[in-house]
């Protein structure tokens, strides 16, 4: 009973292949960046779907990795605000990769907060379904033509979009982070002080 085949040829990192891939992406798309080993394409909102179709067909990026969003804002209720002022907007990120190499592309587009809607990728990659539902409930982004745009994790009657920077982390309001303030003294300490005073 032998149903496994061992991949005989040892694959090692091929740097020249990777450079070739990056060059081909950079020559095909105008607005790209390559920092910290991460290739990112900035695309216009209107060509969001077409870009993914091209990447899937022409660049063999058939593996749908993930999709998510970023809330860019200067006034934040949780965490630190960006050091340099940013234009308040949503950035949609998607990640596609190949299944025969380490090549990977992050696509990014920007949508306004007032009109937070974008075409759904479900027709190109069926796997985008759950990722878009998550972005919908966490950021309030409307994905047009999505087959089932309902909440994924949160209860149906939940109000608010938790990953927005304007959404407060309630636990921090109720109980401050222990690292921020000195820990209160133990009850025994105060009793001792009273006894000494009396």
């Amino acid at each position: 009973m032998k149903i496994l085949k061992e991949s005989g040829e040892r694959k090692t990192l091929n740097q020249s292949d990777q450079n070739e891939f990056i060059n081909s992406i950079q020559s095909s798309f105008k607005n790209t960046s390559y920092n910290f080993d991460t290739l990112k394409i900035n695309v216009n909102l209107s060509s969001w779907i077409d870009t993914h179709k091209i990447l899937k067909k022409d660049f063999n990026l058939s593996f749908f990795n993930w999709l998510s969003a970023v809330d860019w804002d200067n006034e934040v209720k949780t965490g630190d605000a960006p050091k340099e002022p940013v234009t308040p907007s949503f950035e949609i990120l998607s990640c596609l990769s190949q299944t025969n190499s380490n090549n990977l592309v992050i696509s990014s587009t920007v949508i306004s907060k007032e009109n937070a809607e974008i075409e759904s990728l479900v027709d190109v990659f069926a796997g985008a379904n759950w990722h878009e539902r998550e972005a919908y409930e966490m950021f309030g982004i409307n994905f047009l033509n999505h087959p089932n745009l309902t909440k994924l994790y949160l209860p149906d009657d939940y109000e608010g979009n938790p990953l927005l920077k304007s959404f407060e982390l309630i636990s921090r309001e109720v109980k401050p982070w222990p690292g921020d303030v000195d820990v209160e003294g133990m009850p025994e300490d105060s009793i001792v002080v009273e006894e000494k005073g009396s």
Binding site: M1, I3, L4, K5, E6, S7, R10, K11, T12, L13, N35, F36, D37, T38, K40, S62, F63, F64, N65, W66, S68, V70, D71, T78, G79, D80, A81, P82, K83, L93, C95, T99, N100, S101, N102, L104, I106, F125, A126, G127, N129, W130, M138, K151, L152, Y153, L154, P155, P162, L163, F167, L169, R172, W177
Partner: protein, 398 residues
């Protein structure tokens, strides 16, 4: 009974309508969120027509803890505590891509010895995760024995993990630039390992030999079992095209015949220094998924045995500032975890913590395939298919 019946109110039988064709409606069957085979709290709303499933809708969120939000109010060293708890069956492996991402943004070169320790412990996490699978999967489809064998063998590996990190499931052992310093740790030689517990070299060798034996036993006991074969062969076949479209990764993708393993293709840990094979399945059914994972345990043990032999000496921590501040930048670092590809997209704005941390987990994408795989399947196969996907709800809900 006839005494109490009022003869005036008796139903008139001739008026009762009997339809010749019996029409049946699909029954809605709720599976979970407390069902043992759901590995946590997954709920499936299945529409069944007799024994046949016509559609399935997974309901998630019973364990959603909001780690992406929590990471925004924590500093970088604090995030490793959170990510341990994503896939708790292999907690150590979750830390690696996050730490590697932060190191990439800070442009820190990690000492070789620290990388070797990380690699050994990651592979131990993989072995312990696959032990759980080898116990739980046969259990769900009716074989009780393997879980006792698997848990005993896993304990040996967890003991080793505990002896190094202090934690069995949530080690929180990685530091930015290296691994957790131990009192008295310094430049060490191969045989005189100071930053690893005394006897680690010997104990690991013994444990790995036992792992190799356990794998042989499992292949015989589980894989050779006719009932197991009947329940898993040609059940839940997943084609590689569908798997890629849904982002299904790890052993499930490899069982469908895709030769993709980030340990070979990426350089997040020095895997290129060791000889090991990537098991690939042919049919993409439940049996192949079991078989790929079981063979992977053997390869992992082989990697650990080689790494222990070649263990370089030297420091285990690179020089880092006292207060970790990650410069502005964005990066995506991914790793081959026991359950599949895990990655972190870190957006740093130069602060003490990430501005946004997107966590890509394997099980989330892996179970998004459930509605497709279960459509038209038989109800008993549902348990086999779910078991073969080997997901953990903490990894799905984050």
């Amino acid at each position: 009974m006839s005494q109490t019946m009022d003869p005036n109110n008796m139903p008139i039988l001739s008026e009762a309508s009997v339809s010749v064709e019996i029409e049946t409606e699909d029954m809605t069957l709720n599976i979970g969120p407390q069902h043992p085979s759901t590995h946590g709290v997954l709920r499936l709303v299945a529409k069944v027509n007799g024994e046949k499933i016509s559609s399935v809708e997974p309901v998630l969120g019973y364990m959603h803890r909001g780690y992406e939000k929590l990471a925004e109010v924590r500093t970088y060293p604090q995030v490793t505590t959170l990510v341990n708890r994503i896939d708790w069956v292999s907690g150590f492996a979750n830390e690696i891509p996050f730490i590697a991402g932060a190191e990439k943004l800070m442009e820190i070169e990690v000492p070789e010895r620290a990388q070797y320790i990380r690699l050994i412990l990651t592979e131990m996490a993989r072995i312990s995760s696959h032990f759980v699978f080898n116990g739980a999967f046969p259990l769900e489809i009716g074989a009780l024995t393997p879980i006792f064998l698997a848990m005993e063998d896993r304990e040996r590996v967890l003991d080793l993990l505990e002896s190094v990190t202090g934690g069995r499931f949530h080690p929180n052992f990685n530091r930015i630039g290296g691994v957790k310093p131990v009192a008295g740790a310094g430049p060490t030689t191969k045989k005189d390992i100071q930053d690893l517990p005394a006897g680690f070299y010997h104990d690991t060798k013994v444990a790995m030999e036992k792992v190799l034996k356990a794998v042989d036993t499992f292949e015989d006991l589980i894989g050779g079992n006719e009932v197991f074969q009947a329940r898993t062969k040609k059940v839940g076949v997943l084609t590689k095209e569908v798997a890629e479209e849904y982002g299904v990764s790890g052993p499930i993708l490899r069982a469908s015949g895709v030769e993709f393993d980030l340990r070979k293709q990426s350089d997040y840990l020095p895997y290129d220094k060791f000889d090991f094979e990537i098991p690939i399945g042919e049919n993409g059914d439940c049996f192949d998924r079991w078989s790929v994972r079981t063979s992977e345990m053997r390869e992992s043990a082989k990697i650990i045995l080689q790494a222990i032999e070649d263990m370089p000496s030297g420091p285990i921590q690179a020089k880092v500032p006292k207060v970790i501040k990650v410069p502005k930048g964005q990066t995506y670092v991914r790793a081959e975890n026991p359950k599949g590809e895990m990655g972190y997209y870190i957006i740093s704005e130069g602060g003490l913590g990430p501005y946004r941390l997107k966590i890509r987990t394997a099980s989330f994408s892996n179970i998004s395939i459930l509605p497709i795989m279960l459509e038209g399947a038989l109800l008993p196969d549902l348990i086999a298919i779910m078991g073969s996907l080997d997901f953990v709800l903490g990894d799905v809900d984050r």
